[in-house]
Assembly symmetry: C2
Homo-oligomer: 384 residues x 2
């Protein structure tokens, strides 16, 4: 209940509030804030202004009621379904030029609509975000990516906005897949209202989540605060179209600061909607250009633990390998193990390529890591 | 004359031949080859096959005659106009998978049509290459880049082919700029013949150059041998459109192996003509995405010595600076000098960005390097 009150009282991500909650627990942190007993002058002023509009505890109770009516629940870090990945925000440090960004700490809680458990759903998820004013090209590419990822069992996460976001959600739904919309307002009144039909479907078959309590309005600054959750909750983020210095590029800077795979779809250099994408690829050495579902899977495959063995028989998978992966596989000894360095020497590939390919081969179940090195997976019955 | 004979006798770039010439000089190398007195069995066979078709010295004399008729000259390393940059090929080592590429050594000579001196013309040059089957998008972007570069006094180098190559040459001509076509056949019979009108204009206002003697046919394998010259002779290379594993991507691997700026224009991921470009950007960490003339100049500006002070007044240049460059400039002390590290700390930018911006600022005449560090250029009369 204290966390619910806090979501109403102070905008999420606040560095001082989050630190206070971690140090004292949510109930005492709330007491301190309401008692005007915190050193941060700006924070005191913000709490006072908000308290003038209502009593935080009473607002929390009302939010809980609204949540119940809307079929929503509150998820806190103590819950089994808490998406632990977002806690990486605790150490996010952004160096965005001259400004210090204060709204980057982990969420205190999530309001959730939808039956699936939040954490497990986000475990194997990719965010696809981009311009509201998307072009036909951007929509097309988003459809391809979101449909393909959803089809392969990845949850597609986005922000519910017009353009790329909505295309991503809709394509995932069309693939009978799972999609999660991270909102910057209450889950009982998802914004924009023109996407209501889509939000209803997402609540039915996926998840609508928000840090703000039911009833909260989609204020402008909230979208930027929300973006850090999209970056932190997913295994990787793809930006499809983005204008220069837009919300999507802001999300990407958080993705890269978190050391998550940050992926960017290029486009015509003549398109204003690809300027932000190309800017990202030029300025951030960590941003990776992707053109297809396979490219995206290669990137999120770098964090191999999120990949499960491919559902096909081994021989089928082998047949579909790219040249480098096949070369790595062929360079492994029939019996026993080899180190990545030995494989690199044998395959005449550079070590980085070998390591990347090994992650994929491991994810596909074709090789295993042992204490003494890499080995071929022992044969097993092939399901075809 | 020996070098002329060698251009007829053995395909250029041949490792053993080049080594022989470097060790013994061209006349004795030619004697040895014609006397069957070289250890390389394949080379002996190639020379024998060629000699059966004619006498190398006589063919050289005929090539010289043809050259004279076509208004062409032979340029050898001893000449003042030799483009020294191509000699970097002496240490080019390619690791193209399993194959060892043998045709990568420097040219022995160039056959040249056009009045400008070869070396000085190539000094300040950028190659623009790409698909023959270019799209409207690729042609448009090539026009923009080649026109802009030519307008700013850069020679535009390409291979004379249909598509991107021809668009690059033509846009440079349209800008009243200089363009150089590096051919894979004799300069008296530039290929393809449908571009004859363009080649005539290039011979008039730019340069047609080739390693092969007048009369040589544009055999298929020669284009790949030629590509290393495009890579080595220029300050940087831009690939605009390229199919997967095409000639342009082969050129780019040479550019990057030579540590020259390798630039790639992205395009729609739905376009087959951009697949090679995206492949390059994904596989080569050294390949840089570029979207505009400014981006290209930033890359070739890394080798700042090729940039001359901008022709505008100082204040005008300052007004047109990008944010980071302006920040670097503002971070310099009004008097005295600062180290790049001090500037980076002051500007709150990373050192790499600062170094890159300093190169540009230096090229634009806004800062100077002194023994004790970087300083603002002393004020001088502004020409407006």
């Amino acid at each position: 209940m204290a966390r619910a009150a806090l979501t109403w009282l102070v905008e999420p991500g606040h560095r001082a509030v989050w630190t206070l909650v971690r140090r004292l627990g949510a109930p005492e942190a709330l007491d301190r804030l309401l008692a005007d007993d915190v050193p941060d002058r700006h924070l005191r002023a913000a709490v006072a202004a908000r308290s003038a509009a209502g009593d935080a505890r009473q607002m929390a109770a009302e939010a809980m009621e609204r949540a119940q009516e809307a079929g929503a629940r509150l998820v806190v870090p103590a819950d089994a379904e808490w998406p632990a990945r977002v806690d990486a925000l605790a150490s996010l440090e952004l160096d965005s030029g001259m400004r210090v960004n204060r709204d980057t700490r982990p969420p205190l809680c999530f309001w959730v609509r939808g039956d699936r458990p939040l954490g497990p759903t986000l475990e194997r998820s990719v965010a696809i975000v981009g311009a509201r004013a998307s072009t036909g090209y951007g929509t097309h590419v988003t459809n391809e990516l979101a449909y393909g990822l959803a089809e392969q069992g990845w949850a597609v996460v986005s922000g519910g906005a017009y353009g790329i976001d909505a295309a991503a959600h809709r394509a995932a739904l069309a693939a009978n897949g799972v999609t999660v919309s991270v909102l910057a307002c209450g889950v009982d009144r998802p914004y924009p209202i023109m996407n209501s039909e889509m939000f209803a479907q997402i609540a039915e078959r996926g998840l609508l989540i928000s840090e703000w309590p039911p009833g909260a309005e989609p204020l402008r600054h909230r979208f930027l605060i929300r973006n850090r959750v999209i970056a932190a909750a997913t295994a990787g983020t793809v930006v499809v179209e983005a204008a220069a210095r837009s919300g999507a590029t802001q999300t990407m800077s958080r993705v890269l600061a978190l050391n998550r795979p940050g992926m960017v779809v290029p486009g015509p250099v003549t398109s204003a909607m690809s300027v932000g994408c190309h800017e990202l690829l030029r300025k951030h050495p960590g941003a990776r250009l992707v053109t297809s579902v396979a490219d995206v899977l290669e990137e999120v495959g770098r964090i191999g633990e999120y990949l499960e063995p491919a559902p096909r028989g081994r021989e089928r998978v082998r047949d579909r390998l790219d040249e480098e992966s096949a070369l790595v596989l062929e360079s492994l000894p029939r019996r026993g193990t080899a180190t990545p360095e030995e494989i690199a020497a044998e395959a005449r590939l550079d070590l980085r390529t070998v390591l990347r390919r090994l992650s994929l081969l491991e994810a596909a179940g074709l090789v295993v890591r042992t204490d003494s090195g890499i080995a071929l997976t022992p044969p097993r019955p092939v399901v075809t």
